[in-house]
C-alpha cells in the first residue's frame, strides 16, 4: 500500500462582519481569476412553510426575481447577464439562496441588485399568477412528466417523518400553489426575509476594504428587521422500521431508497462527520463497499449511491436529517434483497472494520471533491454563506478536508453499527411503464 497521503487544504482568507441592521457578511478574497461569486442566503426553507401552503418557499424564491424596489420585472436578469454574469436561486430544506457569478467589474452592480430585493420585491397579482404557472411547469418537467420524478427527495420524507415541516412535499401541490395570495407573499417576506435573517457572502476578485465600503453603501440602509425565532423541527428517532412503496407509471425498472437518522449536523458535528465519510466508503466509486458488492459482484443493483441529507448537501442541512442510500435495480430486481445485503455490508463494517487503506483513500477522494467545489467562486460563496448562517463558522470551509481526514476507523464502525433495520425508513418504486 502506498504511503499515507497528506491531505491538502485551502487557505482562503475569510473576513466577517455584521452591519447595524443585523446583516452578516462574509468576504473571501482570491484574485486568481477576474471573477466574483455573490450569494445571499435567507434562513428560511421548505421546513418553514405553513400547512396549506406546500411549495410556498420555492414559489416565493421565484417572486424574488420579479422586480424590486427600484427595478422593473425582468430588470434583474438583464442587469446580471448584461454585465456578463449568470444568476440563479434555489430553495432548500433550511435555507433559500440567491446568487450571481460575474466578472469582477460588476461587484457594485451585484450588491445593488441584492440589496434592492432585500428591501422588498414587487409583489403583484400578475407576477404571482405568472410564476405559479412557471413553477407548475417546473414540477411537470422535473417530477410529473419523467420517470423517478422526485425520487427519493420528495417520496421518502413522508415515510421517515411524521410532522408537517419534515414530511411534506417541498415542491408543493398544484392546489396549494394556485391558492397562494399576494398577501401570503408579503407576510412571508416580512417574517423571513429580514436583514437579521440573511447572510451575504462575496468570494473571488475583490479588495476587502473596497468591498466593505460598497457593502455598507448598498446594504447599510436596508431597514433592520430581526430574525424570527427558529422553530424546533426535531422529531424522535424511528423505533421500528417504516416501509412504503408506490407505482411510478413512467418508470421501466424498480428502485429503492433507504434512510436512517443521523446525529445533529451542527450541535453534534463531531458525531455527525463519520456518517459523511461512511456514505463515501459505501458508494464512492467501483472500489466502494456497496458498489463492489451489489453492482459488480451480486449484480442486484444497476447503480447505487449514498449521501447525507435529502438534497445531498452534508454541510448545509440542520437536524433532523438522514443518511440515504438509493439504488436502481435491474429488471425484476428485488428491493428486499437489496436492503438485506445493505444491512449485511453495514454489519460487516461494524463487526470487521475496514480494509487496509480503505479509509485513507476515501478521505483523499473526499478532499479532492471538496477542493474542486471550492475552485469555483460561486461554490465558495454559497458554502461560506451557509456555514456562517447555520454555524457562525465560515472558516470551516478551509478546515473540512483536514477534519474529514481525522475521522477514524473506529468512528466509522460505530456509525455503521447504528444503521439498523429497525431505525430504517425505505421506499420502493414499482415500475409502472408498459402496464
Amino acid at each position: 500500500m502506498a504511503r499515507k497521503l497528506k491531505i491538502p487544504t485551502t487557505r482562503y482568507p475569510v473576513e466577517r462582519f455584521t452591519l447595524d441592521n443585523g446583516l452578516r457578511v462574509v468576504l473571501a478574497p482570491d484574485r486568481t481569476a477576474p471573477v466574483i461569486g455573490v450569494a445571499v442566503v435567507y434562513d428560511v426553507g421548505i421546513r418553514s412553510e405553513p400547512e396549506g401552503r406546500t411549495g410556498f418557499a420555492h414559489l416565493f424564491e421565484h417572486l424574488m426575481f420579479q422586480g424590486s424596489e427600484n427595478l422593473e420585472k425582468l430588470a434583474h436578469f438583464r442587469y446580471v447577464q448584461g454585465a456578463g454574469g449568470t444568476f440563479n436561486g434555489s430553495t432548500h430544506l433550511d435555507y433559500t439562496d440567491y446568487f450571481e457569478t460575474l466578472p469582477s467589474n460588476a461587484l457594485e452592480r451585484a450588491l445593488f441588485l441584492e440589496a434592492d430585493r432585500m428591501r422588498g420585491p414587487r409583489l403583484t397579482e400578475e407576477n404571482l399568477r405568472n410564476q405559479v404557472e412557471v413553477v407548475k411547469e417546473e414540477i411537470r418537467v422535473n417530477v410529473l412528466n419523467r420517470p423517478y420524478g422526485g425520487f427519493p427527495w420528495l417520496k421518502l420524507p413522508p415515510v421517515m417523518f411524521q410532522t408537517f415541516p419534515n414530511a411534506h412535499d417541498g415542491y408543493g401541490s398544484f392546489e396549494d400553489l394556485e391558492s397562494a395570495t399576494v398577501e401570503d407573499a408579503a407576510d412571508f417576506f416580512r417574517r423571513y426575509y429580514a436583514s437579521g435573517n440573511a447572510v451575504l457572502a462575496v468570494a473571488g476578485d475583490v479588495d476587502v476594504a473596497e468591498a466593505t465600503t460598497l457593502i455598507e453603501r448598498h446594504f447599510g440602509d436596508v431597514p433592520a428587521r430581526p430574525a424570527p425565532p427558529r422553530p424546533d423541527f426535531g422529531e424522535p428517532d424511528l423505533t421500528e422500521e417504516r416501509r412504503a412503496s408506490y407505482v411510478d407509471r413512467l418508470a421501466p425498472l424498480p428502485a429503492v431508497a433507504a434512510a436512517w437518522r443521523v446525529p445533529d449536523p451542527i450541535a453534534e458535528f463531531d458525531a455527525y462527520l463519520p456518517y459523511v465519510v461512511l456514505a463515501e466508503v459505501l458508494t464512492d466509486g467501483e472500489a466502494s463497499r456497496l458498489v463492489e458488492r451489489l453492482v459488480l459482484r451480486d449484480r442486484i443493483a444497476t447503480d447505487i449511491g449514498s449521501y447525507l441529507g435529502f438534497l445531498g448537501e452534508p454541510f448545509a442541512v440542520r437536524d433532523p436529517t438522514a443518511l440515504l442510500v438509493q439504488a436502481h435495480l435491474p429488471p425484476g430486481g428485488d428491493a428486499d434483497r437489496v436492503l438485506r445485503v445493505i444491512d449485511e455490508e453495514l454489519d460487516r463494517i461494524a463487526t470487521d472494520g475496514l480494509a487496509p487503506g480503505e479509509l485513507a483513500r476515501t478521505q483523499a477522494r473526499m478532499a479532492a471533491h471538496l477542493l474542486r467545489e471550492n475552485d469555483a467562486v460561486l461554490g465558495r460563496a454559497l458554502q461560506l454563506a451557509v456555514l456562517e448562517q447555520q454555524r457562525g463558522e465560515p472558516t470551516l470551509l478551509n478546515e473540512l478536508p483536514r477534519r474529514i481526514g481525522e475521522v477514524t476507523e473506529e468512528q466509522i464502525r460505530s456509525a455503521a453499527a447504528t444503521l439498523r433495520p429497525q431505525r430504517r425508513a425505505s421506499i420502493v418504486v414499482e415500475p409502472g411503464a408498459g402496464r
Partner: protein, 448 residues
C-alpha cells in the same frame, strides 16, 4: 411605503467598473513521438489536476464503442477493476470514459500530488485493458438498463427523434445503440476495437491545475510515451444541410407536457459568421434575458426552462431550440416560438439588445476560464476542433466587433423559421389538431 416616498428613494443601478482584459493562463504543448498531443495549463488555485484525453472515434461501431467507454477501466493484465479504482482513489483521483459521435473522452481529476500515478494508471489501461468476460457481462446489462431508463425519458426520446430528422442517413443520426445491439457485443470485439482505435496518433491530452506546464509535459511523456501508435482513424462526411420538413409529432400518450425541439442551421466556431450567429441566438433564446424566454416563460408562463444553443460536432453545427410546455399550450407556445424566430429574422434587433448579448458572451468566456474544470473543458473542446485556448482572445475580439447589421444578417440566414426542422413529443391526440392550424405536421410511425 407611499408613492411619494418611493419616488424620493429612487436609486440608480451603478455602472460597471473598467473591463479586465481576457488573460490566458500559462501553458505548454508538446507532440510526443507516438503522435499524442499534450497540452498543460497552469491554474494553481487549488492543489488539484484535471485530466481530459480526447481520442477520435468517429464511425466506430456504436454499441461496441458505447460499451467500450463503459468497460475501459474494468481490468488490465495487472489490475482488476476494483484495484484500478482503489489505486486512483488513494491519490484522490478518478477516471471515467464517455462517448459522443466524434470521440472517446476520458475525464478525470485528482490531487495534483498524484498526477504521476494517475498518468501511470491511465497508461496501463490504454495499453493493456483486458475487457474481462465477467466485467463486460455486468457492464453490458448495466448499459442495457440505462438505455431502457433513457427510453422512458421525454428529453431523450425527443432528442432521438430530432437527430434522425436533422441528420437523415448520416452517422450522427443515431447516437444511442439499441438494447439488442448492446447485448450482442462480445469482449473480443471490444479488444479489437480498442486495438484499432484507442491510439495516440491523433489524440489530445489536456492537463490543467496546480502544475508547472513543462514539468507536466515531461510527466505525460514519461507515462504515455510508450503508448504505441497504430490502428486507424476515420473521418465523417459533412453533415447534410437541414431540409425543411413538416413538424414531426411523436406520440407519448398521457404526457402532461409536450417536448418541443427545433433545429436550425449553424456554422462552426471558426466560421466568419459564428460570432454574429452566437449573438443572434442569444437575442432570440440563448439566455434568460432573451426575447423568447421573456415571452414564453416570464410573460406567458408556458414553460420553465426554455433554451436555445449552438451545438458543434466535427462534421456539422446546429442550433437546437428546446422547451417543455404544458400539453394544453403546445400550439400557442409553438406560435410564439416561430414568431420570435421570424421577428429576429426579418427585423434588426435594437442596439441595447445587441450590447447586452455581447456583454453576456464576453463575460461568460471569463467565467468559463475561471476554474480548472472550466479551462480543461474549453481546452479539450477547442483541441478537438483543431484550436487552442488562444482562440478565445481571437474570438473575444470578433464578438466585440460584430455589428447590428451582421447580427440581423445572421438571424435572417440561420434563424429563419422557414428553415426549422421540428419535433413535438407529446400526447398526439391532444396536440395534432391545434398544431396543424399553424404548420404542416406529420405523425411518426408507432415505435419509431
Amino acid at each position: 411605503m407611499t408613492v411619494s416616498e418611493r419616488e424620493a428613494n429612487v436609486r440608480t443601478v451603478p455602472p460597471l467598473g473598467p473591463h479586465r482584459q481576457l488573460k490566458l493562463p500559462r501553458q505548454a504543448e508538446r507532440r510526443l513521438a507516438n503522435g499524442l498531443t499534450v497540452i498543460a495549463i497552469r491554474r494553481p488555485a487549488v492543489p488539484l489536476v484535471e485530466l481530459r484525453l480526447w481520442i477520435p472515434f468517429a464511425r466506430a461501431h456504436l454499441a461496441r464503442a458505447a460499451l467500450l467507454a463503459q468497460t475501459l477501466f474494468t481490468g488490465t493484465d495487472q489490475a482488476s477493476m476494483v484495484e484500478i479504482a482503489a489505486e486512483l482513489q488513494s491519490v484522490g483521483g478518478s477516471l471515467a470514459a464517455g462517448l459522443d459521435p466524434d470521440r472517446l473522452l476520458v475525464t478525470g481529476n485528482g490531487l495534483v500530488t498524484g498526477l504521476d500515478r494517475i498518468l501511470e494508471i491511465l497508461n496501463d489501461v490504454l495499453t493493456s485493458a483486458e475487457y474481462p468476460r465477467a466485467e463486460v457481462a455486468t457492464e453490458r446489462e448495466r448499459l442495457a438498463d440505462q438505455i431502457q431508463v433513457a427510453e422512458s425519458q421525454p428529453a431523450h426520446l425527443a432528442r432521438v427523434a430530432l437527430l434522425r430528422r436533422i441528420f437523415g442517413r448520416h452517422p450522427y443520426a443515431v447516437q444511442t445503440p439499441t438494447i439488442e445491439q448492446v447485448r450482442a457485443v462480445q469482449p473480443a470485439q471490444l479488444r479489437e476495437l480498442h486495438d484499432e482505435r484507442v491510439r495516440p496518433n491523433e489524440a489530445v491530452l489536456v492537463l490543467v491545475g496546480d502544475l508547472q506546464p513543462e514539468k507536466a509535459l515531461d510527466a505525460a511523456e514519461r507515462a504515455l510515451g510508450g503508448w504505441p501508435a497504430g490502428g486507424r482513424t476515420s473521418t465523417l462526411p459533412p453533415a447534410p444541410e437541414l431540409t425543411p420538413q413538416p413538424f414531426l409529432v411523436v406520440d407519448r400518450p398521457g404526457s402532461v407536457q409536450t417536448s418541443l425541439r427545433i433545429a436550425l442551421p449553424a456554422v462552426p466556431r471558426t466560421h466568419p459568421d459564428h460570432a454574429a450567429l452566437q449573438l443572434a441566438n442569444l437575442i432570440f433564446g440563448g439566455y434568460f434575458s432573451s426575447r423568447w424566454v421573456e415571452n414564453i416563460r416570464e410573460d406567458k408562463g408556458y414553460t420553465y426552462g426554455p433554451h436555445s444553443v449552438i451545438e458543434h460536432l466535427r462534421a456539422g453545427s446546429t442550433v437546437v431550440v428546446a422547451a417543455d410546455v404544458a400539453t394544453e399550450v403546445t400550439a400557442p407556445a409553438l406560435l410564439e416560438t416561430m414568431y420570435e424566430l421570424g421577428r429576429l429574422a426579418s427585423l434588426p434587433p435594437k442596439e441595447e439588445e445587441l450590447e447586452q448579448a455581447r456583454q453576456y458572451a464576453l463575460g461568460t468566456l471569463q467565467l468559463g476560464m475561471s476554474t480548472q474544470a472550466g479551462l480543461a473543458g474549453m481546452a479539450t473542446t477547442f483541441a478537438g476542433a483543431g484550436l487552442r485556448l488562444s482562440f478565445l482572445a481571437e474570438y473575444a475580439a470578433q464578438l466585440a466587433a460584430v455589428t447590428l447589421d451582421e447580427v440581423a444578417a445572421a438571424a435572417a440566414r440561420y434563424l429563419a423559421p422557414s428553415r426549422a426542422v421540428g419535433v413535438l413529443l407529446g400526447d398526439r391526440e391532444r396536440i395534432v389538431t391545434p398544431v396543424s392550424a399553424l404548420t404542416a405536421v406529420e405523425c411518426a410511425d408507432e415505435g419509431s
